[in-house]
């Protein structure tokens, strides 16, 4: 049950990353970072109580959205989903992420919500997170002790739990430069257009002609965290992407996932359509070159 009045907390407004991490070191699990607040404020309206809210609003330097053909993409902690959508470089090089941003919530939400916030929320329905998992991202964490990087594959530990220590600030997520021939796509299913995912899939395929050399296949809303589907990646690796192969994939997805019944759909339904969704997202990734035979 929500409340109309949020519980008391101290709003802290640090003005540098150093100040943020100093505050985090002091308050640890008695604090929460406020980026766009589209998840945090919802939680605060429910029973969530926290003593200190550390806002990133006045912290400079976290708004970087930088693409380099060698080093790839860096998304700073304050980059919003709307900014992703505006980036021609993201659109050209990371279609999966751009497509996730495109269907993400509503214009108002996109203007506020950050990509990092989406990752830190560790929801199995995180759309940008799902795309970045398929694209192979790394989270940059900073504390008073220094910086470290955690691969997204090892970042989400369980529902709403990440590998972040409570004194760490996520300052960016990095996505490697796409090798030539990389195709990616994102697709989700919702109850109405403006909704959280009830099922999501994202792929990045390293194609040579119509042969897939390597694949990353990820799904959302099929377990407590976003997951990769190694068995499907294996089917794709080194294979010619044909209609038969895709049919094979459709039949193989259900064994890889562990969905539940919830407000948005049922386990049964998710198991039935997950394969179709994966097939479609692969087709969508390859679409512009008509590589499916």
């Amino acid at each position: 049950m929500t409340s109309r009045v949020m519980r008391d907390f101290d709003l802290l407004l640090p003005e540098s990353v150093t100040e943020v991490v100093t505050l985090l070191a002091r308050h640890k699990d008695k604090s929460a970072i406020l980026a766009g607040g589209t998840d945090l404020l919802v939680a605060l309206k429910f029973d969530y109580a926290i003593d200190n809210v550390i806002s990133l609003a006045l912290v400079p330097g976290l708004g970087t959205l930088r693409f380099d053909p060698q080093d790839g993409l860096v998304i700073g902690a304050k980059v919003t989903v709307a900014e992703i959508l505006k980036s021609a470089e993201v659109k050209a090089n990371y279609p999966a992420l751009w497509q996730a941003a495109q269907v993400f919530a509503t214009p108002q939400l996109r203007n506020t919500a950050t990509v990092l916030g989406n990752i830190m929320r560790a929801s199995p329905a995180g759309d940008c997170s799902l795309a970045i998992l398929a694209l192979g991202g790394t989270v940059l964490l900073q504390s008073t002790a220094g910086q470290r990087e955690v691969d997204l594959d090892n970042f989400w530990l369980s529902y709403a739990v990440t590998a972040r220590q409570d004194d760490e600030l996520a300052i960016a997520v990095k996505i490697p430069a796409p090798p030539s021939g990389q195709k990616s796509a994102f697709r989700r299913m919702t109850r109405t257009t403006e909704d959280l995912s009830k099922l999501g899939a994202a792929v990045s395929l390293h194609m040579a002609g119509n042969v897939c050399q390597q694949a990353r296949v990820a799904m959302g809303c099929v377990g407590p965290t976003l997951v990769r589907l190694p068995a499907i990646e294996k089917i794709l690796a080194g294979a010619k992407v044909t209609t038969e192969l895709l049919q094979d994939i459709v039949g193989s997805v259900a064994a890889e996932i562990n969905p539940i019944d919830d407000q948005r759909s049922s386990a049964d339904y998710r198991l039935k359509v997950a394969g179709v969704l994966v097939r479609r997202v692969i087709e969508q990734a390859l679409d512009n070159e008509g590589n499916v035979q």
Partner: protein, 780 residues
Amino acid sequence: MTEYAVIGKKVERVDARIKVMGGALYAADIQMAGMLYGKIVRCYDYAHARVTGLDLSEAAKCPGVVTVLGPEDVTTKAYNASVLDMMVSTDMRTVLGDIDDQNIFTDHVKHYGDAIAAIIAISEEAAERAAEKVKATYEELPVYLTAEASKQPDAIQFRPEKPGNLAFQLPEMAFPNNSYAWGDVDKSFADADIIVEDTFYVPKQKQCQMEPGNYIALYDDQQRLNCWTSTQMPKLVQKKLANLFELPMTRVKINQTVIGGGFGARLGMVLEPETCALAMAVPGRPVKILSTREEDWVTSPSRHPGKYWMRMGFKKDGTPVACDAKFENYKGAYYVDASGTAFTTGAWLGGMYKFDSLRYHGESYYTNQSICGAFRGYGNPQTNFVMEQLVDRGCVELGVDPIEWRKKWHKTIGDDGWCMGVPYNSCALDECLDRAAAAIGWAEKREKYKHQSGNIRRGIGVAVMNHTSGAMPMLLEHTVCDVILHQDATATLNLACSDMGQGSHTTLRQVAAETLGFNYEDIYIATGNSDAAGFDIGAHASRTLYVGGGAVKQACEDARRQLFDRAALELEEEVGNLYMEDKIIHVKGTSNKSISVQTLTDQGINNFMNPETGELIGQPGQIKGYASFFPPHNAPPFGATIAEVEVDMETGEVRVLQLVNAHDVGKAIHPGVVEGQLDGGAQQGLGMVLTEETYYDDKGICLNNSFTDYKMLGPSDMPKMTNILVEDADPTGPFGAKSVGEAGIVPPVGATANAIFNAIGIQILEAPITPEKVLKAIII
């Protein structure tokens, strides 16, 4: 066709500017000196339990708390939050079995969110924090979520006077065999060549009005109980509160605030009793109660869900011989509208087709869900979902076109309408069907979609409906209006009709301007003050333009007649020789004999003496028109929708591509307002058939009382939509108008279901038709 000056014009809506500019004052916006805040303590742990202990002592000690209130600290008088019982005679109330079974706070929790106590504090925050400190202990009771469960012989009885937890069935005295019926159904079925039959489920849809339940009450120094509320029924709520708190009506004042959407959710009382009870506990201090969305969801009424069985019989030539139906609705925790929907659901059924015989049973069973009450359509969308799907199944078996069959067998002028004995006096449904079919290309698409394969299949379906303009003769219909003419020849209407956003204050003003012969800008509508306004039933049953408009027209005719009488005296002419143009009354056939309305209205007020002659100039007395209006009929509107859908055979997802709504509206007083009603209706109709349902776990805990978990269609989900207004003036409506407020929600329900049937060849019996259900049905 008659040429009107204001009627039929898209004038600026009276509420448009203020709402768009943020100037509209909703109850939540109102601040008062010394305001206190109330928080109702609700049981969210159980849906059915007895309160075995209630300890308010810790809460009372919290900072900022003024007082804490348990069940015995407020009136323990029982009430019925619905106002239906005030629209029938005392005798009829007894026949119907209406009861008062609600209390301000309860020691027997009957649904998730039932109220057990309250806090009054100096701030909202203090009240909320104190509410968390209330300690209640409960004895858990078995939970009944369906009629099937609550009618079991060993089930706990909700009310001693309602055995079997049957809150309502059509009473034997008024409805022999407890059924709404004509002919001999059993005999007719014996004559049928084709019989179709099924049991459907219709969902617990929520109105989702934008403004949640927010109220202020003040028991003032003059010992008057004031309530600021966005109720859609101010005069009946005034009377209900007077009854509950045992005060004369002169000591109860309703200040109607801007209504942030109603759709039935504010039909009757919602949290007015609680807010007023709190205010009575702290005389002289205003108390404000603000609901969260989740709270509003479970405390205001929803649509009646339930099992709906129907059987239809046809002759080979298509003749509909018999229809038998039973709607067992899951009424929720309290009686409220138990009688209304259980009856009307069958009434709409009876009003549609020329069956030789028909029999309908409507039963309302208590359940441990939140209450059901009025929701746009009032049983009609439920009937549309079931009746129209069965008709289409019949059409498939008969091998006839669904539009042709409907054109042949729908009821029309001279046939009994939804109320037996009250025949239709206008009907343009054929034209609706023809124009909708032409607009969408029905015949070609129907043919084209016959043979499809592949993953994406299209379908096209139709549904029709009848509705009503006001609830006479079943319920009281009455509006009082007075219109006062000012000295500058402008006019103020004083009445209690509600504008919930449906545009009624705009259209009523148009009716007044046209009738008086004034400009639209010359009229002001004064509403919202129950001290000043005469009686009005309130906004329900799509009545406001038809009945309220009838009252406005009659009051304005009265004022106009007075103007003409005075003009006749001044001009020394017969009234019959006069006419008005641009607010000047002229004598027919002469060009120089005239008097302006302004001269007449001014002279009536400023009745000065001519200093030379010593005589009074003009006729004295401010002109006031008055009407206490009871409508002669209920002018049922008709409507048809054709829907075109696309079904994804691999995922079960349904996309509505297009809707064409053609409605027999009598006369569109304001075409923009009419279209707005049809658009909004369609959005809710599509929601009911595709996505919307409030649901509970098996313990009765509501799982989706929020916009995160309950999905309405948003703007980007809406299909391409065409509205066709068929204007065939009704002989009884003001300027020929019939209602449109509820009509729009109804046929999109059946049409969409039928389009899905057309696409996949299978009928989905349970609404909403989610992808999960479609996929289950199509994967063998």
